[in-house]
Symmetry: D2
Subunit: 360 residues, 4 copies
């Protein structure tokens, strides 16, 4: 099959022909129908420090995708050939003390598809049957490919009280945008979004932010206080990983507020824990992955009931052969979520604004 492979421990990647994968007994073989590009893929492509320590080339990367089941391993349960499935990419061991407590999302021996095992920038991919989530009938493929990162947003937003709460979303990359949409769908308001990229701020407004702040030009803290009549925000959803955004976010938080951190700071940084966390009585949560599979169930219901619409955040649908362009656009911040069409797939006129926009 054809695949986009990280062949060498250096920047870049190349399209190659590799052997078709074979599902293990508890796995399924999927034909990839759409695969989205994650910030992590950009890191692997650019070969940053984290990639150098974690990735072992050659490997097929890509882990946000929707596929069709084309073959079942001998013990694969819960799915059928022909099913369209999204995939939870954290393959938990199921046996460690954390898995046994129901904390599979932080399994001690987790393997991530497209990071620790071959991923979905390819015609086919294998995953454990248990990791498949059936795509609700009628859902556009582009949206189905984005369920995995949307799940990060759902997990973050629903990690505490949100309805009737003011919320700040710092960082308006794809998951930040998703978080705005999810928070709005779940009754948060006002929603204050910040970034330093006008294109992303425009998307933020489009997907539901009540107030957008260009943190390069305005004081986020002031704007957040203003939007909350001076009270400060109830909830901070941190999606940027920038130390200053975290510090400003904490500053803008009301006492006893909630901070959920998903954006990954690139290294250790200084924080005034006494003033910003302890005296505030704040709760700061690290968010990793998606709860298996409560998060998927919640996301499923939000989407199928029509409460949640994330289409404004899916800005591009490109053939996988344009991967270099996709990486470039993500790097520049001139795209929301980019979905790739594998070989042989063409954008269907399936009613997503996303596809429409791109092909107009």
């Amino acid at each position: 099959m054809r695949a986009l492979v990280k062949t060498r421990p250096a920047p870049g990647a190349e399209i190659k022909t590799v052997p078709d994968p074979t599902p293990a007994p508890d796995e399924v073989l999927l034909k990839v129908r759409r695969v989205a590009v994650c910030g992590t893929d950009l890191h692997i492509y650019g070969w940053d420090r984290w990639s150098q320590s974690r990735i072992h080339p050659p490997i097929v990367f890509g882990h946000e995708f929707v596929g069709e089941v084309v073959e079942l391993g001998s013990r694969a349960e819960g799915v059928q050939v022909g099913d369209l499935v999204a995939v939870e990419t954290h393959v938990a061991c199921g046996m460690c003390h954390l898995c046994r407590r129901g904390l599979m999302h932080v399994c001690e021996r987790v393997k991530i598809v497209g990071v620790d095992r071959d991923g979905a920038f390819a015609e086919f991919v294998t995953v454990p049957a248990r990791n498949c989530w059936p795509v609700p009938a009628g859902m556009p493929l582009e949206l189905a490919a984005a369920l995995e990162p949307l799940g990060n947003a759902v997990h973050t937003v629903l990690a505490g009280e949100i309805a009737g709460c003011s919320a700040a979303v710092t960082g308006c990359g794809p998951i930040g945008l998703f978080s705005i949409a999810v928070a709005r769908a779940c009754g948060a308001g006002p929603i204050i979004a910040s970034d330093v990229n006008p294109y992303r701020l425009e998307l933020a407004r489009k997907i539901g932010a009540d107030v957008v702040v260009d943190a390069s030009k305005e004081s986020f803290i002031e704007k957040a206080r203003e939007a909350t009549e001076g009270r400060g925000v109830d909830v901070l959803l941190e999606m940027s990983g920038h130390p200053q955004a975290i510090r400003d976010g904490l500053e803008a938080l009301r006492n006893a507020g909630r901070v959920s951190l998903l954006g990954l700071p690139s290294g250790p940084f200084e924080l005034d824990v006494t003033r910003l966390v302890i005296f505030k009585g704040a709760t700061v949560q690290g968010i990793n992955g998606r709860l298996m599979f409560q998060t998927w169930r919640q996301m499923n219901e939000l989407l199928t009931s029509g409460r949640l619409d994330i289409r404004p955040a899916i800005t591009h649908v490109l053939p996988i052969t344009d991967y270099a362009q996709a990486m470039e656009q993500l790097k520049k911040g001139s795209a929301g979520k980019i979905v790739l069409l594998p070989w042989g797939e063409t954008a269907t006129a399936d009613g997503t604004k996303a596809s429409a926009a791109v092909h107009a």
Copy 2:
């Protein structure tokens, strides 16, 4: 002043001239601007068993209202003359062991405005300053008068997980209708509403129910299972107080689901606790009043951010002198929430569909 007074321990009420009330040191005097009619008012008017045991005529009743502060007691804090305020009608003692734990909504010595002390079917009313909630700028008076019962709905819906959950609302009186709107605003879906009154079911659909069930003609249990692909509902919001609705609701609940009971059964009834509660691992919550004042804050944010719109449930605005007609319509179930205009007040063209509808 003029007031609608429960003068005698018998059905009915009459408009009388009574002395103007005087605020105690920690109280304020309010000029009533709008007052809505509650099911409890109907009970008092009709002089049911509960009223006979609780109400001591003569008393001015009515407890869902918005007023303008016209005088401050000597120690009244937190409000100013001229403020427009909605009122938390549970006057908690502040000193009992429950109040001290932050459970003022179930205070052991609670006094309810319009039940245990004079209420708001009048030109003026006094309440503790502490019980006032400033009405957000620009909110239509009809809506402000409904904040107290809306708070019951907010308290019920947000008493547990709701976003990304399927929810059933059994009973589509005004608080049932509000609950549908609140659940929808907070990310519940699908929302299945049931009643036996076609007029109310129509309102239920209008305010946001995904599925409506006429329980006199269809099986609620079947419809609820159907709407959830056989899983059963995650959350039951019980607003009818009918034993059969409670039993059916529990039957339709998925294992480990949540039941929040606000509707008041009129007496003890039989329940198969073993099968419907224990084996199911269900959580059943009794809901009383509103959390002071978290519920008010959540409600405030839901409304001012535009997430929540309850106007379809406010179907009538009538002069208070038409009280008999209002009582009659509520009794027949041919109204949602009815708001009354006190003497000297005329419906303002303030943009509520409600007023518009009524005066069209």
Copy 3:
């Protein structure tokens, strides 16, 4: 092998020789070392209405036990031959929507060992490897056999706030006694225990109740209020399944208190939900099984750290051939937990007071 078999749809049971069981690929074969008698076993033995609808003879019953792993199925993971294991007897399907949400304890397709498949009143038994919990080093076998019902108590007590709370335990059978010990170990106080059997009340006091109430002679409600300076109890742990105990327990509960129901009423009964649940703002939880496997982890830590001692509740250790006597004593209420020694096992002088007491 020898086994105690429910051979016919009628009262009684008989010791028979049956074929040795063979583990399926994901199962293990256990040599039973100790097996305790549950109230459910008594129901099966006596052939009550529930048994008649659920049990399909012939079946080996018994489901509270500790065994030694003597053979592994081909895919059995997480245990080794020679391991001593206690067993979670709810065999969850792992695939239904409840299991996927982490709610395996209320799996829609649960099979219970000793109820829906052969159990442990036998020399050998097979169970899924996944259901095994390694017995902490040094734990007496009699205690290890009681982990499954102790888990019910741990699940019940820890289903809400307990530390620094007053708690009532209504019903002092073995799980009631365990609950007293667990509640005490977890910081509850005062603990008020009620029953109508003086022998059990004596055990209740011994295992840690601060106040014991003979509900046949004294008013439980009065005693509970007295013990809490008139406030009412914060938490009700209901272990009797008696409608009157449930009603009285709710009556004795403070507003906004917690009720956790484990005892199974034998049929529907009348309850004043309005007064006892809704006006109180109470939370009533149905408790089923044990959380998999959080409850086991909590129980493990409570026992190995020495915080929890349940030995006073294990009153008898008898050879399995005395099963009729064991059933009789449980029926009469003249025993706490009874542990049986399978064929070939003799009570070890392992330091349990339990064994000591019995063999003195």
Copy 4:
């Protein structure tokens, strides 16, 4: 009256005669019976950077105390002359948006007794009636004086799951010691305590730690993993405020564990949030004060039911005139909690080991 006064913006304090305080209408006048010394008092005495920014001499300091009500303001409710009361020292405004949400412990306009208004190193002190907590009958005065800091420990320990959890307490000053006792009383185990002071570690063991670690000589991380069979601790109760203790504590935490921070770092410090918080899925809580008054109720029940015994942590009872010696001992770390006897008070032979120990 006589009082220990911070007279000048410089190190030290002096005993002076000052006017007797007069209670405001909602306040009470208390005769101080015992007053304990807090780390904050040491900061004020030593005149550190924080004190310089917060304290406005002249002021009477001291805020951990028990007093007898000797006079009631005209509107003081809930207490009587002659009552013995402990005092919640956070005087919340009751009107800000945080107080209205029930978050009085992080009131935006809080005034702290002995910090922002005159305190209890004196013969008399005034406090709002609402801040008084009646001392349970029979409680030794030395213990009653320590309820305020004990409340910090109770708040910290009970800010999340604790029963059946392993817990680390980093920092064994008085509140660290109290936390060990509280965690143990509430079912935590094993409890791993760390400090660098052998005297304190000895007290830690005495009050209930299962494992003590001298972090100056041993690896806390290794010891914590060892004590938990390699799993890491479930809960970290951070009482030292040392950046390295926080980092090591997070390192020793299992994924998805809880961290409750009470110890105050003296300034900003570097933290690897990505690895230690986000990837771990940890929850980090800042803890401030005591929940009003849930924490007091829980503490009351823990003590009166005998579940909790903190006497080993109260190591010294000294006359207030020995204040300089008390400050010196706290600074050296050669004391647990020190309780002072105001003028005219002599240590009663009331059965506390504390008094006994000191006067032996």
